[in-house]
């Protein structure tokens, strides 16, 4: 492929590409994002390939692996184009039915269509699935259409058009102005206005650097990963536009080493863009230079913090340093650096293509555009969700997420990663934007959203997150290092039924201190899970302390197992699984649990067919 030497050449190449592709030609796209890969997408791909070859259709029907579609709960997913027939939970053995349906006039395979859980009807297209219906997939929309390893696919759907546009008709100042007017705010968590950051960087002398922050470390979050895996060119294009606006010639993509596929796809995207003359020494013949390097993170949560990330890039210990000076003033190698999240970079081409006014029209007064959440936990439709800012939690949980499994009640939603806060079910009508989440004691964060139902103990959850943060605190500044340690100790004490009421104001004081006096955002937000659970679920803490009772029946030291004699059929199943030989009773007779021997592992509960094993809490629990 010869390098594209001008904007016109790019456009004529795109026109050639479009002309060469028959829009009516059938194409099977299988999601090969991490979720679907784990669910067996590659087996499906192999099955389909084999079936196409068997019928000699490999030249008539295209087969493609794409990035994440978001509906990971129902994976592996696939779409049959040009009809857009959406299949879910496909297995390799379905390949013959699918290929047969495509070659026989596109009659959808009934059993692979998504069944609406409310109406029970099968739906054909992706957008008719309730999970997708309320979404606005500005960044993720192309994930299901393109092969992330093929730049031609990206060009085919209009990729690099924004780059062509800025190179031919916009000045760097106009780009910064457009980003400012779009109201785009950093998608990494803090929500700092991107345009302001770019402006500050431009005011400082060159050389300037760009960094794409792909060190997504939140448990249960995979937005950045899916974007890098599924549409890496959108990020690369955003960075090239940024480099033009900021006069940078070197850029870095910092990706977690735990994301091998993301690293591979970004590298491939950069290589292809260089090959096509969209990146490198003379971008589209305009003389613009940019090199993008991919750097793998070594696995520290704190390296997602921008100053720690820069330290890690420079080869130093990944510890944050105080701001000011901000990276936009003094960042990588002491030079002005713009560091933005993966989704922020990917938003830039969208803003250029569709105009800042269009982008600013989405969302609320201060939070514009769309936000990507990874919806996980006790929710029917696990997956990646892209919604306009300002959508309420109720729409998120019930309309998109499909509600709580097992008919259980919603208890809380934890938003913003491990240091986000837990928002109680009573605030379900809260609109999701930066300010409202902060007011509620949580934060937007990078977009993790963990749904909890009534079987979740809020004290235990606070302890779990504090354990994670204690481990991930870099340990440099005292309030964060000691604060997380002490908080975890106190919470463990409360979970064990040994807490006192004095512990609660102590936790609040400690949380206040960490929020106020810690060096970086990790420490400043680390107390959020504790402070919000104390604010909204204080009664649960008090039940643990005053009554030695765990209302959700989770904390092991505060619960006991017992067998309801009227239900026990003496099948002996529980006796066999009890590792501590804590269940007494002959076969055929009513069993009892010896509480002194019971480790409260719950194994008997799982095997008991007549559901005679019950969990209790609140009585005097024997110590062992």
């Amino acid at each position: 492929m010869p390098r594209l030497m001008s904007v016109e050449e790019l456009e004529s190449f795109r026109a050639e590409l479009r002309a060469a592709r028959d829009p009516k030609r059938p194409c099977l796209t299988v999601c090969a994002g991490s979720g679907c890969t784990a669910a067996g997408a590659h087996d499906v791909l192999a099955g389909l390939r084999k079936m196409l070859e068997k019928h000699g259709l490999q030249d008539a029907i295209d087969l493609k692996s794409t990035g994440c579609h978001g509906f990971c709960e129902r994976g592996p997913l696939m779409i049959v184009w040009p009809e857009g027939t959406f299949y879910n939970q496909v297995v390799a053995s379905d390949a013959s039915a699918i290929v047969a349906s495509v070659s026989n006039g596109h009659v959808p395979v009934e059993k692979l269509l998504y069944r609406d859980p409310v109406s029970g009807k099968r739906v054909i297209h992706e957008e008719e699935v309730p999970f997708y219906a309320r979404q606005q997939r500005v960044l993720f929309g192309n994930n299901g259409k393109i092969d992330p390893k093929d730049i031609k696919d990206y060009l085919h759907v209009g990729g690099y058009a924004a780059l062509a546009r800025v190179l031919s008709s916009m000045s760097p100042e106009q780009i910064v102005d457009a980003v400012t007017r779009s109201g785009l705010r950093g998608r990494g968590g803090a929500g700092f206005p991107t345009g302001v950051k770019w402006k500050v960087c431009r005011e400082n002398p060159a050389p300037r650097y760009l960094i794409c922050n792909g060190d997504e470390g939140d448990p249960g979050a995979f937005m950045d990963r899916s974007l890098l895996e599924g549409n890496p060119h959108s990020v690369v294009e955003g960075m090239i536009i940024g480099a033009f606006a900021l006069g940078a010639q070197e850029a870095y993509v910092y990706v977690r080493a735990e994301y091998p596929l993301a690293c591979e796809h970004v590298r491939a995207a950069i290589d292809q863009a260089e090959e096509y003359g969209l990146l490198g020494d003379d971008i589209l013949g305009t003389g613009l230079k940019l090199r993008i390097h991919v750097v793998k993170g070594a696995g520290a949560f704190v390296c997602g913090e921008e100053t720690a990330l820069i330290a890690s890039l420079e080869g130093r210990v990944g510890e944050p340093h105080p701001r000011p000076p901000y990276p936009a003033q003094k960042g990588l190698w002491g030079r002005p650096t713009v560091i933005n999240n993966v989704k922020t970079w990917a938003s830039v081409p969208v803003i250029i293509n569709r105009g800042p006014e269009w982008y600013a029209g989405i969302g609320t007064e201060k939070s514009k555009g769309t936000m990507v959440f990874s919806l996980v936990g006790k929710i029917n439709n696990t997956g990646l969700v892209e919604v306009p800012m300002g959508i309420t939690l109720r729409e998120m949980i019930y309309d998109i997420g499909g509600g709580i499994p097992g008919g259980k009640a919603l208890k809380a939603i934890q938003i913003g990663g491990p240091s986000g806060g837990c928002i109680p079910a009573k605030l379900i009508d809260l609109p999701i934007d930066y300010e409202r989440l902060t007011e509620a004691g949580s934060m937007m964060g990078s977009g993790g959203m963990v749904v909890m139902d009534e079987t979740t103990c809020m004290v235990d959850i606070a302890r779990y997150f504090m354990e994670f943060l204690e481990d991930e605190s870099c340990g440099q500044c005292f309030p964060c290092r000691k604060g997380t340690q002490r908080m975890r100790q106190i919470l463990a004490r409360i979970c064990a039924g040994n807490g006192t009421e004095d512990d609660l104001p102590l936790l609040e004081d400690l949380g206040w201190l960490m929020k106020q006096a810690s060096l970086c955002a990790l420490g400043q937000t680390a107390a959020n899970p504790v402070l919000t659970t104390l604010r909204y679920f204080r009664d649960e803490y008090l039940a643990h302390i005053r009554e030695r009772r765990c209302p959700a029946k989770v904390c092991r030291e505060l619960i006991f197992y017992e067998i309801e004699p009227t239900l026990c059929d003496g099948c002996h199943a529980c006796v066999h699984v009890c590792a501590g030989q804590g269940i007494l009773g002959e076969k055929g007779q009513v069993h009892t649990i010896d509480r002194a021997k019971c480790t409260r592992c719950g194994a008997c509960l799982e095997v008991c067919q007549p559901k005679a094993v019950r969990v209790g809490t609140g009585e005097l629990v024997c110590q062992n």
Partner: protein
């Protein structure tokens, strides 16, 4: 020259000055545990936090004065209620970590911290990093450094062996704010009596009780105050066994 406001007083300072240096120059005290004039600021102990509002920002923030550049239009309060509360809570946490350090006890008494709600930990290090920076920036040796992360983070020698670069100068011990003899003051039941002994830094390595990166020295071997068989006199004339732990 940047013009800033500290506690309501407008002051002019040299460019490149930090707020801590500016405040101290004008006689306004700010406590520190990890700061030393000859070393780069670490912003680790957070005791020097001040309430600062920069130019157009709507809200003031607590920022470490030692690394905060004195800029035009900066408004700083070094002793507001918020700062005081943060310092008191910090000191309480410090007392719990290293109850026997004289420096920390003095701070507790100066800032009115009279109780400690945490269990005492008796750690030998608060990770202020003074020793590491002293070794690297003043002694030009870099023989010690930090290893590990979070709760595991600690000052260490490379591969736990004395580095060839170590000249046994003892500067690390000299700057350490906490590796002093554990206080066994006049009132044994209180850890905050402030009546502790103020011994010159000594070598503890052979007793594994505090960090010393030097080889055991002659004085230490002869009269090391932590040797359990040597009796020492306290200021309050109470005799204690120096090896006893509280």
């Amino acid at each position: 020259m940047p013009k800033l406001t500290i506690n309501g007083i407008e002051v002019l300072v040299e460019k490149g000055t930090t707020v801590l240096e500016a405040a101290r120059f004008f006689g306004i005290p700010i406590p520190t545990l990890c700061h030393d004039d000859g070393l780069a600021p670490a912003s680790a102990c957070r005791l020097c936090v001040v309430e600062a509002r920069r130019g157009l920002e709507a809200k003031s923030k607590l920022l470490a004065a030692c690394s905060l550049p004195a800029e035009d239009g900066l408004v700083v309060h070094t002793n507001s209620a918020r700062v005081q509360r943060a310092r008191q809570l910090l000191i309480e946490l410090y007392v719990a970590t290293c109850p026997s350090s004289k420096r920390i006890q003095d701070l507790a008494s100066a800032y009115g911290v009279h109780e400690c709600r945490y269990e005492a930990e008796h750690e030998t290090c608060i990770q202020c990093g003074l020793c590491v920076r002293m070794c690297e920036q003043q002694m030009m040796a870099g023989a010690i450094g930090f290893a590990g992360r979070g709760a595991d983070r600690h000052v260490s020698r490379p591969f736990d062996k004395t580095s060839e670069r170590c000249r046994q100068c003892g500067a690390c011990l000299y700057v350490c704010p906490v590796c002093e003899l554990r206080c066994a003051g006049p009132a044994a039941e209180s850890t905050l009596c402030n009546g502790c002994l103020n011994f010159a830094p000594v070598c503890f390595q052979s007793y594994n009780d505090a960090m010393c990166f030097l080889d055991p020295c002659h004085a230490c071997e002869l009269a090391g105050p932590l040797r359990p068989d040597v009796k020492i006199k306290t200021r309050a004339n109470a005799t204690v066994l120096s090896g006893e732990k509280q």
